[in-house]
C-alpha cells in the first residue's frame, strides 16, 4: 500500500492496469453471460429465472466489496494519511452505488416470478437498500467536503461507521429467516449444481475487473483534476 503512496508511481501502474482490467473484464463477463443465458440448464425449482443469478450475485458482491474498499481507504486516510486514500474513497463510491443499485433492481425482477412479489421488507433486501442510501450519503458528503476544501475526514468517518452494515447484510439471512434464501456459496463449497454454477465465476471476476477499471479511471480523473487545480493555484500566486 505504502509503495503506491506516491501518485506518480500509482499512475505508472494504473495506466496499463486500466486497459487490462477493462479488456479481461469484458471478455470474462461476456463469456459468463453467454454461457449463463444459453449453455446452462434451467433450475428444477426456479426454472429460467435462475439465470438472473449470474448478474445479481456479482452485483451484490461488488456493492459490499465497494463499501469494504471505502472503509479500508478511510483507515488508510485516518491512520496513515495515505495521499491516495481520499481519491480512492471518492472513486469507489459511485461504482459501489451503481452495483448496489443493479443488485436491488435485478433482485426485485428475480423476486416477482420466484417469490410472487417485487419487494419485501426482508432482512437482506432492507440492509442492501440501506447500503445504497449509505453510498448516496457518502457521495454527497465527500462532494460537500471537497467543495469546501476539506480533507475528507468526515466522509472517512462516515465510511468507517457505515461498514457496520456489512456484517448485517452478510448474516441477515441467518438472523432473520424471512424471504431471501440462505447462503448458497461459502468457502467450504456450494449447494448449487455444477452444471448451473460454472458461468458464475466468469461473471464474478469479469464484473469485478470492470469495477476495478471504473475505479482506476475515476482515480486517474481525480488526480488529473488535482494537478490542474495545483497548477492554476501556482500560476495565480506567481
Amino acid at each position: 500500500m505504502h509503495a503506491l503512496a506516491n501518485p506518480a508511481r500509482f499512475l505508472r501502474i494504473a495506466k496499463p492496469a486500466t486497459g487490462w482490467s477493462l479488456a479481461i473484464g469484458l471478455v470474462l463477463a461476456l463469456a459468463g453471460i453467454v454461457g449463463g443465458l444459453t449453455l446452462t440448464p434451467p433450475d428444477y425449482l426456479q426454472g429460467e429465472t435462475v439465470r438472473i443469478l449470474y448478474v445479481h450475485v456479482p452485483a451484490a458482491w461488488l456493492g459490499m466489496a465497494g463499501w469494504a474498499g471505502i472503509a479500508a481507504a478511510a483507515v488508510s486516510q485516518i491512520v496513515w494519511r495515505h495521499p491516495l486514500a481520499v481519491v480512492a474513497g471518492r472513486a469507489i463510491a459511485p461504482c459501489g452505488a451503481t452495483f448496489t443499485g443493479i443488485c436491488l433492481v435485478t433482485g426485485s425482477i428475480w423476486g416477482r416470478p420466484t417469490w410472487g412479489t417485487w419487494w419485501e421488507w426482508d432482512g437482506r433486501l432492507t440492509s442492501m437498500l440501506i447500503l445504497f442510501f449509505l453510498y448516496l450519503g457518502y457521495i454527497a458528503l465527500a462532494a460537500a467536503e471537497k467543495e469546501r476544501g476539506g480533507e475528507g475526514r468526515i466522509a472517512a468517518i462516515f465510511g468507517l461507521v457505515g461498514a457496520i452494515n456489512l456484517p448485517i447484510i452478510h448474516y441477515s439471512v441467518l438472523w432473520w429467516r424471512t424471504l431471501h434464501q440462505g447462503q448458497s456459496i461459502s468457502l467450504s463449497g456450494s449447494t448449487i449444481a455444477p452444471s448451473i454454477l460454472w458461468p458464475l465465476p466468469l461473471t464474478f471476476f469479469g464484473f469485478t475487473l470492470l469495477f476495478a477499471a471504473a475505479v482506476l479511471m475515476r482515480m486517474r480523473g481525480e488526480l488529473a483534476r488535482a494537478r490542474v487545480e495545483a497548477r492554476l493555484r501556482r500560476s495565480a500566486a506567481e
Binding site: 443465458l37 438472473i52 448478474v55 428475480w110
Partner: protein, 43 residues
Amino acid sequence: MNPWPFVIAAYAVALLATAALLLASFESMRRAEADAESLRERK
C-alpha cells in the same frame, strides 16, 4: 408466467448500468487528463 421478460429485463438493467458507469468514468478521466496535458504544454 413467462420468465424470459424478467431475465431479459434483469440483464438489460445490469449491462446498461455497467456500460453507463464505464462510459461516464472514461469520459471524466479523458477530459481531466486532456485538461492537465494541455495546461502542461502551455507552460
